[in-house]
């Protein structure tokens, strides 16, 4: 949605008719929403920079997506079409929970179709289908600080960011290669945004990292517990940290295919089939998998 359209909708919104009695539209009070929207604007203006904000208590627990939820609730409008996924799946516990809540307090339509959604909130995945410039992806973030791995103190990591002092992060990667012959960071792979800030892309698999680069979509990251919001605006460079002789690599699924839809180009979930430990693989993006099955077996 364009900013202009959104502002029009905001102006039309009537706060005296709310979907749930006793609570404002979108659960949060106007002051909170305003603060979050301003933080989002600042985050968009400084790609990859973590904007501190006054994270509110939500009726779901900290660590369960309260940061993403606050962003979603501050943006959502009654005619939005919302998709919520947890580990790629629309039916997973966290997604079901959040979806139910947002539908209750904002009266939105729910979809599982990536293309049909105007707003997608996600935990740990980016949908397989390329998203458009009219859509927003809200990512739930447990650890907003990519440098936490090398420095526990927040005061110190903020200084390191301010001075672009990233030597310890590079050293960490280098030592990893010396110790294991490979960079062992599996998910939450650190990236450089817009050539400036090193950023934690949330615990998405490495598979999803390239999708952040020069995308058409606005990515918003919310860390409720740690009280930070950051963003990757559309058409921004996002580069995973790598060395010339040790390139970034995504997860390898060669030779494997989804047991439901046959896809060989998606991130796969490994499922233990029985007690003897046999494995099967399924698309992690359940909405995409359903769509593919429907296409060849309507």
């Amino acid at each position: 949605m364009l900013m202009r359209e959104w502002l029009q909708k905001e102006a039309q919104l009537r706060n005296d008719e709310t979907p749930i009695a006793g609570y404002p539209f979108g659960f949060m009070d106007e002051g909170a929403k305003k603060e979050i929207r301003r933080s989002i604007l600042k985050a968009v203006a400084i790609p990859g920079y973590q904007v501190p904000y006054g994270s509110r208590e939500m009726p779901i627990a900290r660590g369960w997506g309260t940061g993403g939820l606050q962003i979603t609730l501050s943006l959502v409008k009654p005619d939005d079409v919302l998709k919520v996924i947890d580990q790629g799946c629309d039916g997973s516990v966290n997604a079901v929970n959040i979806k139910k809540f947002v539908a209750t307090v904002a009266g939105v339509t729910i979809t599982t179709d990536t293309r049909a959604a105007t707003l997608i909130q996600t935990r740990h995945r980016i949908p397989e289908e390329r998203m458009s410039g009219r859509q927003i992806l809200v990512l739930q973030v447990p650890y907003p600080e990519a440098l936490r791995e090398v420095e526990p103190s927040e005061m110190e990591t903020r200084r390191m960011h301010a001075e672009a002092d990233y030597s310890r992060m590079w050293l960490f990667l280098y030592e990893d290669i010396v110790k294991y012959g490979e960079i062992t960071i599996s998910y939450r792979y650190p990236v450089t945004v817009n050539g400036r800030y090193i950023m934690d892309p949330s615990p998405i698999p490495r598979w999803d990292v390239p999708k952040l680069h020069m995308a058409d979509t606005l990515f918003l990251f919310g860390a409720g517990r740690e009280k930070r919001i950051y963003a990757i605006p559309p058409h921004t460079t996002v580069e995973p940290l790598e060395f010339e002789d040790h390139k970034f690599r995504t997860e390898n699924f060669s030779g494997k295919a989804c047991a439901r839809c046959g896809a060989t180009d998606t991130y796969l979930d490994e499922v233990i089939d029985n007690a003897s430990g046999e494995r099967r693989f399924f698309c992690s993006d359940s909405g995409y998998c359903d769509k593919r099955r429907l296409a060849w077996n309507p």
């Binding site: 009726p59 627990a61 516990v93 499922v271």
Partner: protein, 370 residues
């Protein structure tokens, strides 16, 4: 008045005890039944049993009533009662595969053999105050019961046992061997009979963690998962259920089942170690009485953290963790600061005054020199 206030201390103390008992009874509400606490505040009772290290739901409920809901005090009373009981023997090691499972989830795999059994949990509820509960009576409860049971299938098959997720990983060589296989202990350490000494044996460590205070353990485990540590846990499996308690018969020595205890068990997988050249997942283990998932998970994380070879932060240091998580010890010591310290304080004052005198004298000398 001078020191007159100190006289009559005995009576004042007795009155304070009575007043505390009176506070809880003075209202107009009906007396709180121990059965009500056991049934309706069962998570509080579970927590108190775990921290008090005595599996006794009725006594835990009684302790909660008597302590007016203070879980530290309640666990303390239970622990004190436990100390008066004769040690009859030790139960036999029991595999949690035999557990009668009421909840069992894995966050490592989407689906697991036996399935994800969500069970009774507040995890997926919205934390909105339910004002309907202000009017809770027998009729409402009956209606609620009828409503939830009417839609259930008549018979659903429940497997006898559930295979353990970590066993499958271990069989494939993805997980380190059990620590007990690598470092067998002839007999389990008994922390109620021997003080902890460091380096601590694993059985002692697990015992200390199993009766640690939930909040304290959570704080330390949280410090590690948030940044002051290097362990990024994945919950391999969390299971809650009833574990048969098998003891050797006192006369014949034959094993027999004496009853069952409700426990929460957590197994967390942490990043590869690679010390022997072969990278594997390592395991952190947590178990505690009753349903207390925060404690079991925190315990598993702390178990794994404290095995870090070179501790870098508090949660990785076994001494730091094990000496500070016992709620009974910590609360006792914290409260002891309310005891009179007049003598010590006077001695402190003496030193402070002397130091001030020296400082003043020093300043005067300086001034003279200028």
């Amino acid at each position: 008045m001078g020191y007159v206030a100190v006289k009559g201390g005995n009576e004042a103390i007795e009155r304070a005890c009575l007043l505390f008992a009176h506070e809880r009874t003075k209202g107009s509400s009906a007396p709180l039944g121990v059965d009500q606490i056991k049934e309706q505040l069962y998570l509080a009772a579970d927590r108190v049993m775990g921290e008090g290290s005595l599996y006794a739901p009725d006594l835990a409920a009684l302790a909660i009533k008597q302590s007016a809901g203070d879980t530290f005090e309640a666990a303390f009373m239970l622990r004190a009662f436990r100390a008066t009981q004769q040690r009859l023997g030790y139960s036999l090691p029991s595999s949690t595969e035999k557990m009668r499972v009421v909840r069992r989830i894995s966050s490592a795999f989407k689906d697991i053999p036996g399935g994800q059994i969500l069970g009774a949990t507040s995890d997926y509820t919205l934390r909105l105050l339910d004002f309907d509960l202000l009017k809770d009576d027998a009729a409402r409860r009956r209606a609620f019961r009828e409503q939830i049971f009417s839609s259930l299938p008549a018979d659903a098959e429940i497997p006898e046992t559930f295979p353990k997720v970590i066993r499958i990983l271990r069989r494939e060589g993805l997980l380190e061997e059990t620590l007990s296989a690598a470092h067998p202990e002839e007999r389990a350490f008994d922390i109620t009979r021997q003080p902890l000494t460091f380096p601590v044996s694993r059985s002692a460590k697990l015992q200390a963690l199993a009766r640690g205070e939930t909040g304290g353990m959570l704080a330390l485990a949280y410090s590690s998962m948030r940044g002051y540590g290097d362990i990024h846990p994945t919950l391999g499996e969390l299971r809650i259920g009833y574990l048969p308690l098998t003891v050797p018969h006192p006369a014949t020595g034959e094993p027999y089942v004496a009853g069952e205890v409700k426990v929460t068990e957590a197994e967390v997988l942490a990043r590869m170690q690679g010390s022997d050249g072969m990278p594997r997942f390592s395991l952190g283990y947590g178990i505690c009485f009753g349903q207390n998932e925060i404690k079991a998970i925190s315990m598993a994380i702390l178990d794994r953290c404290t095995r870090t070879e070179k501790p870098n932060c508090p949660a990785e240091d076994p001494e730091f963790v094990l000496y500070h998580i016992d709620g009974i010890e910590a609360m006792g010591f914290c409260n002891h600061w309310k005891l009179p310290h007049y003598v010590d304080f006077l001695s402190d004052l003496d030193r402070l005054r002397k130091a001030q005198e020296m400082a003043r004298a020093g300043k005067q000398q300086e001034r003279r020199r200028c």
